[in-house]
């Protein structure tokens, strides 16, 4: 078994990594983080074991190189206030839920990371604990707290 061409890694995981970066970073930092992550991944790629969990590996690189270290001061303060007031369209596939984005961005750093790694990147709590530090149980609690806050702060638009 050998490694597939790196192009297929970008094609398969590029969108997920960008969603994670957008969820945990400011919008302009998210694209830089994506670029930094994939360049670092390309460098290290020939040494990767072919049976590795590629998505977990990419999120680890993103966390260590680009996400960890940005911390609170780089987070958009009260992004809710900056939301464009566009009417929701009827076509559900066109809806980009800016209110949810803002609610995620308003979470404390660690909760935001844990929620994104769990629900966007589909990492296990054990993998997440290795990234953000602390125990698996603590990661699970962070996610639960984050989700509870989202349910409180984020009210989806009612369909017509």
């Amino acid at each position: 078994m050998s490694l597939p061409p790196f192009e297929s890694i970008v094609a398969e995981h590029g969108a997920v990594v960008l969603r994670v970066c957008r969820a945990v970073l400011r919008p302009d930092d998210a694209e830089d983080a994506w670029s930094e992550t994939f360049l670092a991944a390309l460098r290290a790629y020939p040494r990767l074991r072919p049976d590795s969990n590629i998505r977990g590996w990419l999120i680890t690189i993103a966390h260590r190189k680009a996400i960890d270290g940005y911390r609170t001061n780089r987070r958009a303060p009260l992004a809710v206030a900056e939301l464009p007031h566009e009417p929701a369209t009827a076509d559900v596939y066109e809806v980009t839920d800016a209110a949810l984005e803002a609610a995620v961005r308003a979470l404390p750093d660690k909760q935001r990371q844990v929620v994104a790694y769990r629900y966007l990147a589909d990492l296990t709590y054990r993998e997440i604990a290795e990234l953000v530090g602390g125990s698996e149980a603590a990661a699970r609690r962070s996610a639960a707290d984050g989700i509870a806050t989202l349910r409180r702060t984020y009210v989806p638009e009612e369909p017509e």
Partner: protein
């Protein structure tokens, strides 16, 4: 239910822009080991792949482009990215060739996929002029082993750079076409194109 399902998905244009940025950064970083693109030709879609040293592979559709890229990843390097602009000169020369405007390719070539006698054979094929043909035994002799006719034929059969290295100009001594990795119809089409020029 996943509470983040409603977060927007990146649009394809954004991902394309980031991909192009990655290609540039990788090239500047010396980690773009293999760049590739496809080109449309009268013989179907061709895959072109290059290392920093030069064009390393030209592949017909019938070879399976995905399979060819996987082989390159295993044999040369898995650092493979779709990077059309880095193959613009090769694509342009092939366009000109198929339009009859170009008789000689002037591209840096990377022959690392061919070894030993096979490489010797490939190195001598460009000596067969546009519009001419040579026999397998003449090619064996030119490469320094007049009796290695079968080995010369198999070198042609696995030429990693068909069209650019003109293995299609090698035919049997009795004048029949012999085989071709792109199919005999493709070989005939190339010889017909060249006989018109």
């Amino acid at each position: 239910m996943n509470p983040l399902t409603a977060l927007p998905h990146p649009d394809p244009a954004t991902l394309d822009r980031l991909h192009a940025r990655l290609v540039e950064a990788a090239a500047a970083d010396d980690t773009l080991d293999i760049a590739y693109r496809t080109v449309d030709t009268p013989l179907g879609e061709l895959l072109l792949a290059a290392t920093p040293a030069g064009l390393v592979r030209v592949a017909y559709e019938s070879e399976g482009h995905d399979a060819v890229l996987s082989t390159l990843a295993a044999k040369v390097s898995p650092r493979v990215l779709r990077a059309p602009s880095r193959l613009d000169p090769a694509a342009r020369e092939l366009d000109d060739y198929f339009a009859g405007r170009r008789h000689v390719f002037d591209l840096p070539l990377d022959l690392q996929l061919a070894h030993g006698f096979r490489r010797e054979v490939l190195a001598h094929l460009p000596d067969i002029a546009y519009g001419r043909t040579a026999s397998y035994s003449a090619v064996a002799a030119a490469a320094g082993r007049p009796t290695a006719v079968r080995a010369a034929a198999s070198a042609c059969a696995v030429n990693p750079l068909p069209i650019v290295i003109p293995c299609h100009r090698v035919v049997r001594s009795d004048g029949s076409l012999g085989g071709y990795l792109g199919g005999v119809a493709a070989k005939q089409a190339l010889l017909t194109l060249e006989s018109a020029g």
